[in-house]
Amino acid sequence: MTEMPALLDLAASAARHAAARQSMIAQNVANADTPGYLAFDLEAFSPQVGADGMRRTHPGHLGAGDGAARRIALDAVANDPNGNGVTLEDQILRGIEAQRAHGRAVTIYSTTMDMLRAGLGRR
């Protein structure tokens, strides 16, 4: 029974990660015609992110993450004449990916909740 809240935590942080990623991709798409803008994305979700363990609580700390996924630059070079580095097709695909990850996490969350309710006999 103690795995259930941990599973809820995991599903919630996966959904949060997918939402943060979708928000970054939204910025890329909105700036698809802004001169000099380069696209970026969030690094992939890992269960360690936000888990217990060493965590950075001060910017001067070394060797531990601050609990949030880091953003990574997608292209080092711009492929448009105006210095813009956003490829719309790529961004839409990434958006679909984030949406599916979010749907998966939310489904796991609600299924776990259903199981908890069933365990409590309040189905």
Binding site: A15, R16, A18, A19, A20, Q22, S23, I25, A26, Q27, V29, A30, N31, A32, D33, T34, P35, Y37, L88, Q91, I92, G95, I96, A98, Q99, H102, G103, V106, Y109, S110, M113
Partner: protein, 130 residues
Amino acid sequence: MNDLSNAINVLSSGMRSQGRRLVHIAENISNADTPGYRRKTVDFQAMVDGGRRSGAVEVGPVRLDRSDLPRIHDPDHPMADEGGYYDGSNVQLVVELADAREAQRSYEANLKMFEQVRRMSSQLMDVLRR
């Protein structure tokens, strides 16, 4: 949820900017035969909110294309000079149409992402509703 509403703000700023761009393209096309008309262009720039970039986009000030106006020979034209020439407009319809098509594609991409974000937040609402 905060991320998702931020995404919706950013995407609607993208659609608004592409719409403004299309307005200027429409002005250029309708004035393609106006003597002395210079083509209008806008640049997109990152929106700065309270000193930091919010990730949203806005259109910058309108700029006029400073390239030379074509000299058109028509001695009967009321604006023609002694040599029978007058200044046309520097609008090129092919360029405007290509620009309009690009704005339309970007607008569609923004709308598509908007739809995805909306679906994600309605999934979250469904969890709350249970």
